[in-house]
Amino acid sequence: MSATKPAIFNEMLNGEQVRPPYQNLEKWYRSMPAELRSLKQSEAEALFRRVGITFAVYGEGGDPERLIPFDMFPRVMTAEEWRKLDRGVRQRAAALNAFLADVYDRREIIRAGKIPEHLVTNNEAFEKAAIGFRPPRGVFSHIVGVDLVRTGPDQFYVLEDNCRTPSGVSYMLQNREIMMRMFPQLFMESRIRPVDGYAGLLKKTLASVAPQKCQGEPNIVILTPGHFNSAYYEHSFLADLMGVELVEGQDLFVEGDFVWMKTTEGPKKVDVIYRRIDDAFIDPLCFRPDSMLGVPGLMSVYRSGGVTICSAPGAGVADDKAIYTFVPEMIRFYLGEEPILENVPTWQCAKQDDCKYVLENLSELVVKEVHGSGGYGMLVGPKSDKSTIESFAAKIRKNPDNYIAQPTLALSACPTFVEEGIAPRHVDLRPYCLVGETIELVPGGLTRVALTEGSLVVNSSQGGGVKDTWVLAE
């Protein structure tokens, strides 16, 4: 790694030249009068308000009524770029599920010495109640959200995996819907792969994991914590698109071998529950006894094969920060393949060679405490002065096991509408991979953009917005 500041990859411009996937859009932008642009921008906002999509992305909290800024300049990926992401994300989703099926069963990966046992079994997200049960098709995480960043023409890194109930997919669908409504011409000029098959694939995925005891067409429901939840809009939106019931815990009950939904025509059996509630709250007779959101007795029905819960209880252990480092190892161990997508390189100061490297390159690295969170106890090398770095080095030398280090990544930038026209702003990407009988991935995902100049923070709570994400056809 050199001492020079890494160049930021601009997804539209290569010097003065417009990269091929952006050529149509660049013309579109140049031919758009400024008045039309502001007109369209307020039209987009009105549309978002009308459909009611105002929640915080990724459960970041904040004001649920606040509109997340929508940037009209799409982000584009070529067929070739996507091919790599597509393969890489599917591979990762397969490995994460293989890992989950293993750690709740024979624990081969631990026996083989590839992952330390305590990182798994002593992990807060590891559920004793999931041990010894194989969910239908061995799938634990049915919707895997993989957070990616790009640093070069051919360089993508995985920042984190989300195996529980990743949110934000309704933005992917609505961003497209609204762009198509406002700029139909654009979609005639470019061959953009559709994303609207997502709901159908989600329904197919959920139906494919119906429990043993289900006969005929499975009855699928979405279990929401309720309208006060910041992602409630998404829960009801997906229920509508799939044509399934949106229920709260109080709408369901267990009796005999099954879970039932209260309806005006009497109880109706439920076969698959796509839950948007955390493990701790889904069954007060198994987990938190004070939960009012779940269904008492649900885990007994689940474990005896009367209902499928998506994602499976315990799926969270695969997306933990401490486990992340081992995902490439999982891919090799379970699939016998080399990882297609890279993790952000991480140096573990517990290892002597790593520690030496970290101490020699502190001014370029981000150093984190292994179990720290929220930026506490962290060193951002490029933004720290010499004395801060020196005193931090002393801390690392004293207790190397406690620290890991990563490079400061130069997130790619995409053209984004600003006051004066367009300007590059940093982006990330979350595709949503569906795992059931087959592994499905719609071409696209949610692009988040840091609207503040120079900012690398794409979180909606800190001035982030969203964009439509295009994957071009071959």
Binding site: H118, I131, G132, V254, D257, G297, S300, R303, S304, G306
Partner: protein
């Protein structure tokens, strides 16, 4: 030893309730020192449903009652042949790795006092075997918490029991689990029955103790309340992180919750060979 067990749990409500759901962990598993001769759980007036054996080897069954009802009874009756294995749990089929039992739950989380108790109990025992260390921890709890019913509540934590210095078997088990965790020894809560008196007179609760993981032996039971390891007078029912997780019955009343009255009656009798089970 052949033990006959009757365990009756009766709930009464001041107002009729709409319905009740229970998760019952009321079936003892077979293991080297306990053979189940007969066992029956009756949920009077209720409907039983989904059942499964969890990773810890305990059978769990669902029971539901549709209201309105003001009273319900769950009755357990059975006979078990036991022997004394000095507390060692042998040939018990389970799949949960011991390392999963290091988790601090609300009731077993160690405070400074528990940490100190653990350290003092193990002082000078750095080289001692895990079994000796476990015995030392159990002794420390027996000495620090005097057996005295009525002073603690079902939700009392290990830290509270230790600072009060008195408690019942649940509190001893929690404290022992807690200080074992401090010493990085996996430990868990066990429920069951104890033939406490020769005449088999009824008592008002089932029993509980702790198990500590001893690498060379596996799980070993320690009953700090009675200053011993489980022997042939004990029947092991189920396990968990703490009293809540291991509870023989976890239930929930649907709708408005009126005042609830709980009555538990447990009778454990030695059956002479050839003698019929007492009615």
């Amino acid at each position: 030893m052949r033990l006959s067990i009757r365990h009756i749990t009766r709930y009464r409500f001041d107002e009729p309730v709409r319905g009740i759901v229970q998760s019952q962990k009321l079936w003892p598993a077979e293991c080297a020192n306990q053979r189940i001769l007969s066992w029956e759980v009756t949920s009077h007036g209720g409907q039983t449903g989904a059942e499964f054996v969890d990773g810890a080897g305990d059978m769990i069954r669902l029971a539901t009652w549709r209201g309105p009802l003001t009273e319900l009874t769950v009755e357990v009756a059975g006979e078990v042949e036991t022997s004394d294995l000095y507390g060692v749990l042998r040939d018990h089929r389970e799949r949960v790795p011991a390392s999963a039992y290091l988790r601090p739950t609300r009731q077993v989380e160690a405070d400074a006092e528990l940490k100190a108790l653990s350290a003092v109990a193990l002082k000078g025992m750095e080289e001692a075997s895990a079994l000796d260390r476990a015995h030392a921890l159990s002794r420390a709890v027996s000495e620090a918490i005097a057996y005295k019913p009525g002073e603690t509540k079902p939700h009392t934590t290990a830290a509270e029991a230790l600072s009060g210095g008195v408690g019942v078997c649940q509190d001893h088990a929690h404290a022992l689990i807690s200080i074992a965790h401090v010493a990085e020894m996996p430990a868990r809560y066990v429920t069951g029955y104890l033939q406490a008196s020769e005449d088999g007179s009824p008592h008002e609760a089932s029993h509980a103790w702790a198990e500590i993981w001893v690498p060379e032996l596996g799980w070993v039971g320690f009953d700090a309340a009675n200053k011993c390891c489980p022997d042939e007078r004990y029947v092991r029912l189920g396990s968990g992180y703490d009293a809540l997780d291991a509870a023989p019955i976890r239930g929930l009343v649907q709708g408005a919750t009126p005042e609830e009255h709980l009555e538990v009656e447990v009778m454990v009798n030695a059956v002479q060979s050839g003698q019929q089970q007492q009615q």
